[in-house]
Symmetry: C2
Subunit: 149 residues, 2 copies
DNA sequence: TAACAGTGTTAGTGTAATCTAATTTTGGTG
DNA sequence: CACCAAAATTAGATTACACTAACACTGTTA
C-alpha cells in the first residue's frame, strides 16, 4: 500500500501538509497554485495518494491527511528540515535558496546521508568552541568567502 | 537541441563516458549491464541522446561521444566528483556509498550548492590546521561518532 | 561459407505525469 | 430558489521511460 512515493507524489503530500497547517482546509486550486500545475493534475495526484491511504479524499470535498499520511509527512519534514539547516548553516546558502534546494534534494537523498548531516550539525553546535574558538559559523562563512552579515 | 537532460539520460550519458574510458568501445549490452536495465531501453536512450547531438549513433555500431557530449560529461563528472568528495570526506560516508549517493544526488543538486561544497572542501584542506590542529578529518569523524580507520 | 550464438533493434504494452478542453458540482446571490 | 461563476473532475492526448517478445544483424567458427 505504501511502497515509497514518487518524487512528484511526495511534493503533493508535502504541499497538502503545508496548506493544512496554514489554512485548515486544503483545496485543489490552492494546491495547484502552490505546486505550479493545473487543477486536473492535482486531482489525479489526489486519487493516487488516496489509493495509498495517505489522504482522505472524496470528490468535490476538501482533503485531509490520514494517520498514515501524517506519519509520512512527519518523516519527510524532519528530513527537509535537516537538509535546509545544513545548506543554510554549513554551506551558508541564503535561507530562501536553502529551502528551495532542500525541496529538490529531499526526494533523492538517502536517510543515511541525512542522518550524517544531522550528526554533523549537532556536533558543531555542541563542540564548536573547542574546534575553533569564537563563532564556528564564521569559520564556515570564511570557508565560503562570504560575509556573515 | 540541448535544453537539459532528464535524470535518466544523464545516467546513460555518464555510463557511456565511463565505459568509453574503461573499454574504448561502448556496446549496448554493456550499458544495459552497467545501468541495470534491458538492452531495448538502452537503444531508446541512445536514440534520444543522438537526437540531442551528444553521441554518434548508427544502428548496430558502437557508440562514441560527440564533442558536445564530451563537454557535457566533463561538467557532470566534475560535479559528481565534488559531491562524492564531500560525502566521503566531510560527512565521512564510506567510499562506495558516497559514490552511489553522488549518482543519485548529482541530478538534482544545483550548481550553486555544488560550488559551495567545493569551496568548503578547498578551505578545509588549506586551513584545516588553523581551525583544529591535527587532522581536520578526525574532527569530522568525531562529529559523526565514527572511527577514522 | 553456412550456421549459430549473441548482440542490437523494433513493435507493442504499461505506468506515471502532465496538459487542454469539456463537463459536473458547489455555493453564494439576485 | 433558480441561476451563475468558480471550483473540481473527467476525458482524451502527449511525453518519457521502462519492460517483453519478436525480429534483424554480425562476427566467429566448424
Amino acid at each position: 500500500m505504501n511502497p515509497k512515493l514518487s518524487m512528484s507524489l511526495e511534493t503533493y503530500l508535502e504541499a497538502i501538509a503545508e496548506l493544512q497547517a496554514r489554512h485548515g482546509a486544503v483545496r485543489t486550486s490552492d494546491l495547484a497554485e502552490c505546486i505550479g500545475c493545473k487543477r486536473s493534475s492535482v486531482t489525479i495526484a489526489l486519487q493516487r495518494l488516496a489509493e495509498k491511504g495517505l489522504i482522505n479524499y472524496q470528490v468535490y470535498r476538501p482533503v485531509t491527511l490520514t494517520e498514515a499520511g501524517t506519519q509520512a509527512i512527519t518523516r519527510l519534514s524532519r528530513f527537509h528540515g535537516i537538509i535546509e539547516d545544513f545548506l543554510e548553516n554549513v554551506l551558508a546558502l541564503p535561507p530562501d535558496y536553502a529551502r528551495e534546494e532542500a525541496c529538490r534534494l529531499e526526494h533523492s537523498m538517502s536517510k543515511r546521508t541525512i542522518e550524517r548531516m544531522k550528526n554533523f550539525l549537532d556536533f558543531i553546535r555542541e563542540n564548536g568552541d573547542e574546534i575553533a574558538p569564537g563563532k564556528i559559523s564564521e569559520v564556515f562563512a570564511a570557508s565560503l568567502k562570504i560575509k556573515t552579515d
